[in-house]
């Protein structure tokens, strides 16, 4: 039969199509690191910022921060914020506490995931210190207090999209860690951390509006 064979042309097309398939497959797997980076950069999904330094500016504008707590159904802990809400000024360093109890008869290691809503506020919510940065180990029946040190970035003032925001909700969910590392925080370390945080001077000298706006990055 006079079928025109175009082996080479076909091979070229097949190779590039297979390469495309592999690239898409690779991108699918790479989505995990890509997605994490994207969330951290944009605050997508309510991903908060981790700050290295305490805030040094404070403004007049006040924001109500609400605290929310959840536990995964298989955890066996009770977990609650000590205060349901607190009102802070933008830039004010604030310390809040959560309390957790292990209601079971065996030690359990948990880890907390967190987010902020409304989502667009997430990039401005900065945590300095948080029980969610490490795994937490609770002995049977133990009740512990856990701190979170945070501030709402005063740069929020420069973002028009956030003008209407009066309340920000910080939400935690504790999950069970199936294969805990040795690094899980226990009672002694926890107390030492609280002592350290309470010793910090949270006050920020007040400055006026103009200075704040100059500080703004954008």
């Amino acid at each position: 039969m006079a079928q025109v064979r175009k082996h080479n042309a076909n091979r070229k097309v097949v190779l590039s199509l297979s390469a495309t398939t592999l690239v898409m497959l690779g991108l699918g797997f790479a989505s995990k690191p890509l997605y994490d980076t994207f969330c951290r950069v944009t605050g997508y999904g309510g991903t908060t910022r981790v700050a290295e330094q305490m805030s040094e500016v404070v403004t007049e504008r006040e924001i109500k921060v609400r605290f929310d707590a959840n536990v995964a159904s298989n955890l066996g802990w009770t977990f609650k914020p000590d205060e349901v809400a607190m009102t802070v000024k933008l830039g004010q360093n604030a310390l809040a506490y959560y309390t957790a109890t292990n209601d079971t008869k065996y030690p359990i290691v948990g880890t907390a995931s967190y987010n902020v809503s409304p989502i667009k506020a997430a990039p401005y919510f900065s945590k300095l210190e948080c029980f969610c940065f490490t795994e937490q180990r609770l002995e049977p029946g133990e009740t512990v207090t856990m701190p979170v040190l945070f501030f709402v970035d005063p740069e929020m003032e420069n973002d028009k999209r956030l003008d209407e925001i009066k309340t920000i909700t910080l939400s935690y969910t504790f999950h069970r860690v199936e294969n805990p590392t040795d690094g899980a925080v226990r009672a002694e370390q926890r107390q030492a951390q609280i002592d350290k945080l309470e010793a910090i001077d949270l006050d920020v000298p007040e400055k006026d509006e103009t200075q704040i706006n100059q500080q703004g990055r954008g």
Binding site: A2, L17, S31, I119, K120, H175
Partner: protein, 528 residues
Amino acid sequence: MSDAYGDHKPKFFTRWLFSTNHKDIGTLYLVFSILGGLIGGYLSFMMRMELMEPGMQYFASPHKFSMFASMHGLLMIFFMVMPAVIGGFGNWFVPLMIGAPDMAFPRMNNLSFWLLPVALICLIASMFVPGGPSGNGFAGGWVMYPPLSTSGHPGPAFDFVIIGLLAAGFSSIFGAINFITTIFNMRAPGMTMHKMPLLAWGVLVTSWLLLLSLPVLAASLIMLFTDRNAGTGFFDPAMGGDPVMFQHLFWFFGHPEVYIMVLPAFGIISHIVSTFSRKPIFGYLGMAYAMVAIGVVGFVVWAHHMFTVGMDVDLKAYFMAATMIIAVPTGIKIFSWLATMWGGSIRMTIPMMWAQAFIFMFVIGGVTGVHMASAGLDTSIHDTYYIVSHFHYVLALGAVFAMFAGFTYWFGKMSGYLYNKWLAAVHFWLFFIGVNLIFFPQHFLGLQGMPRRYVDYPAEFAFWNKVSSIGAMVTLVGVIFFLLWILEAFLVKRKAGDNYWGEEANTLEWTLSSPPPFHQFSVLPKIK
């Protein structure tokens, strides 16, 4: 046309099992699709019977109902629509229409097909092995969101589903590579891209969508698999993963997937509308590039399925706008079909009836699509029966009507026999009335707030549910007439001529005998 060589067929088993002939493989796909459709249809019929009255009648547990719903979705998509529009009509008519002797890689074509029965067996098996805590089978919906598909289904059922879908996925990827190569390299002399029939264009764009989106589904299925079985935590927040990421990956595949199913259908409808209006298709190039545009834009709208996951307003605004933009090329297609019919001398044959009904219902589905694209409105109608109604109008009624249109258009060409018009007309009318009875009332249910995927509902939804279930019975009778007219045609054996629709049917397959010789175009046709 049938010379000695052209009719040399291998023996039965060799012919069908080891088939490398595009027409035989197309036939296998079509038969397989009917089988998949009957199983998927059984599942949905049982759901409709259950929902006929409030309370629980036929199903022992809500799990089982959800399992039926999940399997119905997966079966209809992967084992009914895709095998028919791509594997079936694509294999049969793309080579014929572009003047090629066969597909570029006949043996890979055989592999593509035979992966599908394997996949189907995996899915069917999954229904009978332990799945969730409360029963056999996987009941997490065709979208397979974790954690319901990971920690929510500890049994092996979902692993069967994953393996089955991977097999079906790779079958489609191989098929896509085959189609693209065939269309790029094997067109007859003179058959330029801009002269290529619209079915070939539809299959070409669909193949690209498959190639770009299916690997992402495969990756997410493998991640689900390792999350379940190998202790990874891609989608587990306890391990730093994020279940919402699965939704992004799934819909990055899932949205293009809906167009994968409907683009070849667009092609089929274009040929039929043009033949029976006795006019060439209006705005041919616009039609071809509208499909390309739909394919391209279809990759950047996925999160309209996720408006309620808690996403930033700006992001919602973007996905909302992008989604609405898709309505533009879609509108171009609708108006081109209308313009083709405008002033044409229309012949209301059976395929034309299916095609008209397709246009009618696709417009209804498109309009509800634009409703839901509005993020604010979607917040209240997401996951209600309004959505169910939307996608059945575009898919179950749209794509499926296009399949029936194609089947009644080419049945004589493929089998060599003509069917009985009256039986086929009864099939059409029962099916048309039946499916509209099923799905139109679901708009009302959705707007009243009835959520999808539940086995039971409060009494206030009873009336429209009853109407909907009666529609299912009418549809079932319609399906019986479908099988009847096929049977009748094969029993009575009325011979079909080469071109039984007349000269307006002017694509290359009409230049061949019915059925075409086993090997065609040993001398390549020249296109003016």
